[in-house]
């Protein structure tokens, strides 16, 4: 039976990881032949080197303003997460899930896309909403399930939906969104639009049938879709060794004929570059790209989980690919575009924003005291129009 490298009480051990240097992985042309890129599925695209400089072909050469925006979004996501998790502990939310250590996934990948591109996220990419400018108050109203929750109180927290931002409603059953994204991509292609669809699943979900449906259909129809497996090492307590028998997750894409790229998920620049490459390829009508985002889940799976029972307590601190926020911050400093003073000021500003937003969100109601959506909404949206049997049941409830 496979086992993770370390269990509680043991020293974190990542000595088995082969980590290529930044700049080592070659960047093929966007219209390159997938059959000539197989090495990318076993390598690791990295741009930030140990001295925090951007190196190699994959450097997306982003201007400082874009980098600072990325840092701001990631920092906001972390502060927002901390605040919401704390509020969950005090009973203000029924449940929460943090993105700790994986902030770059939603932020860098989201920033590499266009607003028209449609997002099919899992519950670990709420940061996409920050990229597309969603009001924090609206996100919080969903999480505290008050009357302004646009999901009308029907979903657990973190299961956001935001049509205006092309952010498709999140589902709890893992992986279902993966092949749906392929269908959405096919619809873009059908209409001759240049937009792309993108979806994310975790390493655990890569064992579901939906995972296979998605890659297979994406390859068969050359759908303009980007399919990401966020390998954060852990699916609740299931280590990736129990999800995959060998090779890499990225290598699975090769068998389907897709360009398959493994990327350092804590390297903002690498993630941005790979996503941009895949999006450009899709827009040119050259089909799907499969990406393994290699990272580490810094927090518990959710507030219902206690990872100290199955992995070393401080394992994240030993993660050899570091912290995505610290790495981008160090890069900005290394190129003379950031300093500790500015960082402190930004942290303060974002903390205040989160606190202010939460106060505003509570004006629309709280989980404990309401007001909640009216009881009649229980029966709405089951169908477009209310069916007779539901009208009768609504009347039985007296609403």
């Amino acid at each position: 039976m496979p086992e993770p490298p370390a269990r509680p009480g043991e020293k974190p051990d990542f000595s088995q990881l082969e980590l290529p240097q930044a700049g080592e992985a070659p960047r093929p042309p966007v219209d390159g032949d997938a059959a000539e890129m197989h090495d990318l599925a076993f390598s690791l695209v990295r741009v930030l080197d140990p001295k925090h400089k951007a190196v190699g072909d994959w450097d997306p050469k982003l201007d400082a303003e874009t980098l600072r925006t990325g840092l701001r979004h990631m920092l906001l996501l972390r502060i927002y997460d901390d605040r919401m998790q704390t509020l969950q502990r005090t009973g203000k939310l029924s449940f929460y899930m943090k993105s700790l250590g994986e902030e770059a996934v939603a932020i860098a990948q989201g920033m590499a896309l266009r607003d028209e591109d449609i997002l099919f996220p899992s519950y670990r990419q709420p940061g996409l909403q920050l990229v597309r400018g969603r009001d924090l108050v609206d996100m919080m109203c969903h999480c505290i399930s008050n009357q302004r929750d646009n999901a009308k109180g029907r979903q657990m927290p973190v299961h956001y939906t935001w049509r205006e931002g092309n952010f498709v409603s999140i589902s709890s059953p893992v992986g279902t969104q993966f092949p749906q994204a392929v269908g959405a991509a096919m619809a873009f292609a059908y209409r001759g639009e240049e937009n792309v669809a993108i979806s994310w699943v975790g390493d655990g979900t890569a064992a579901e049938g939906d995972f296979h449906y998605a890659i297979n259909f994406a390859a068969v129809y050359r759908a303009p879709v980007i399919l990401n497996v966020v390998n954060n090492q852990w699916a609740i307590s299931t280590h990736m060794n129990i999800s995959i028998g060998g090779a890499t997750f990225a290598a699975r894409g090769i068998a389907y004929g897709l360009p398959s790229i493994r990327v350092d998920g804590n390297d903002f620049l690498a993630l941005y570059a790979v996503t941009q490459w895949a999006a450009e390829r899709a827009r040119q009508g050259l089909g799907a790209t499969f990406i393994e985002v290699f990272t580490y889940r810094g927090e518990a799976h959710s507030t219902s989980d206690d990872p100290t029972r199955y992995r070393p307590k401080d394992e994240w601190k030993s993660w050899p690919l570091g912290d995505p926020i610290e790495r981008l911050k160090a890069h900005l400093k290394a190129i003379g575009e950031w300093d500790n003073k500015k960082h402190k000021a930004l942290e303060k500003e974002l903390n205040e924003l989160v606190i202010k937003s939460y106060k505003k969100a509570e004006e629309f109601g709280t989980l404990d005291e309401g007001p909640y959506p009216p009881a009649s909404t229980l029966f709405e949206d089951v169908y477009k129009n209310e069916l007779p049997h539901l009208r009768k049941q609504r009347q039985q409830l007296g609403v």
């Binding site: 449609i118 646009n150 049509r163 059953p173 749906q180 089951v382 007779p388």
Partner: protein, 338 residues
């Protein structure tokens, strides 16, 4: 009016909808170039092109999920499951995703998907080519469920299903594709030109979902049926001494409860006939609703004539299949002491 069988009527509905709405796309296993194993999509790819009518990998879960994604992104997909028996790999996508999308997103997202599936027995198909899985879907809020019994209804209901913004699971009893079947497997096969339902307009028309069809009027017993069992019930009625009213429910969800109640209030007796197994079958649901709505009008307990609680057999198909005789016996039981 033209003479059509159900295969042709389904084809005509799909043809009409492809013509009327550029967002309609059709796909499934063998549906493209070949035109479907039952020929329902015959000629459509040649007429509308590869991008509108296409073959898929053998992947029911994949078919359902791309349909959902397309529906989310503005298309109106009609997906075919080659047999209703093979719908189960798509069950999660249909029941967890398609059915719940509008609700869970607070009405922000929906997918106007129609899933067609040939269902039912009577073709020597054994347990994997004969099942009637309609109740798995009527039990899931968010889905509409249709079972057709003749060509005219098939076209009119399919047109409505495709135009519906809610997901519709559309069952086509394959024993009825080429002709009506009254359960007598020893009789010569009939064609649809012997049945009024075989007259089908070539143009666009709709039959609303949730409107039952009283196919035979009567005063003693109400027979509720759908799909192939409509014909079995009608044949049994013709041989029965009692005056029977046969109602073809056509759509199980939404259900035309009004039509059922008004008939049972008149007759005071009811027999439900379905091919699917008895336990947790839709007959149980109907019996309960009749009890709730018409208890004081009932002269006899509601009877159920159904498939047995076994997998659908191969060799002993006719022992399983609800027969005219079993329906007649049930009718007679409701008439005892009267």
């Amino acid at each position: 009016m033209a003479q059509m069988n159900i295969v042709q009527a389904v084809n005509s509905a799909l043809d009409t909808m492809l013509e009327r709405d550029e967002n309609v796309v059709i796909f499934g296993e063998d549906v493209g170039y070949f035109g479907g194993v039952f020929r329902c999509t015959n000629g459509l790819q040649a007429k509308y092109g590869l991008h509108r009518v296409f073959d898929t990998p053998l992947s029911e879960g994949g078919i359902a999920s791309i349909a959902i994604g397309m529906g989310i992104n503005g298309l109106r997909p009609v997906a075919e499951m080659q047999f209703a028996d093979y719908i189960f790999p798509a069950f999660d996508q249909i029941t967890s995703e398609l059915a719940k999308l509008r609700y869970r997103s607070g009405g922000e997202y929906w997918a106007p998907v129609t899933i067609r599936a040939p269902c039912g027995g009577g073709i020597r198909g054994g347990h994997y080519h004969s099942q009637s899985p309609e109740v798995y879907f009527t039990h899931t809020p968010g889905l509409k469920v249709v079972v057709v019994s003749n060509p005219y209804d098939a076209k009119g209901l399919l047109t409505t299903a495709v135009e519906d913004d809610d997901p519709v699971i559309f069952f086509e009893p394959k024993r009825l594709y080429n002709g009506p079947f009254d359960g007598d497997h020893t009789a010569a096969a009939r064609k649809w030109d012997t049945h009024p339902g075989g007259e089908v307009p070539e143009d666009y028309y709709r039959i609303p979902l949730g409107e039952a069809n009283v196919v035979t009027e009567g005063s003693d017993v109400t027979l509720l049926a759908w799909g192939t069992m409509v014909h079995v019930a009608q044949a049994a009625t013709a041989r029965s001494k009692a005056s029977c009213e046969v109602i073809d429910l056509r759509s199980l969800l939404p259900l035309d409860l009004e039509a059922i109640v008004s008939s049972v209030e008149k007759t005071g007796r009811c027999v439900v006939v379905h091919e699917a197994p008895r336990t947790s079958g839709y007959g149980g649901e109907l019996a309960a609703q009749i009890m709730e709505e018409c208890f004081w009008h009932l002269e006899a307990p509601v009877e159920r004539v159904t498939g047995w609680d076994t997998p659908f057999p191969h060799t002993l198909e006719w022992e399983y299949f609800p027969s005219q005789e079993r329906v007649m016996e049930a009718i007679a039981r409701t008439m005892v002491d009267n």
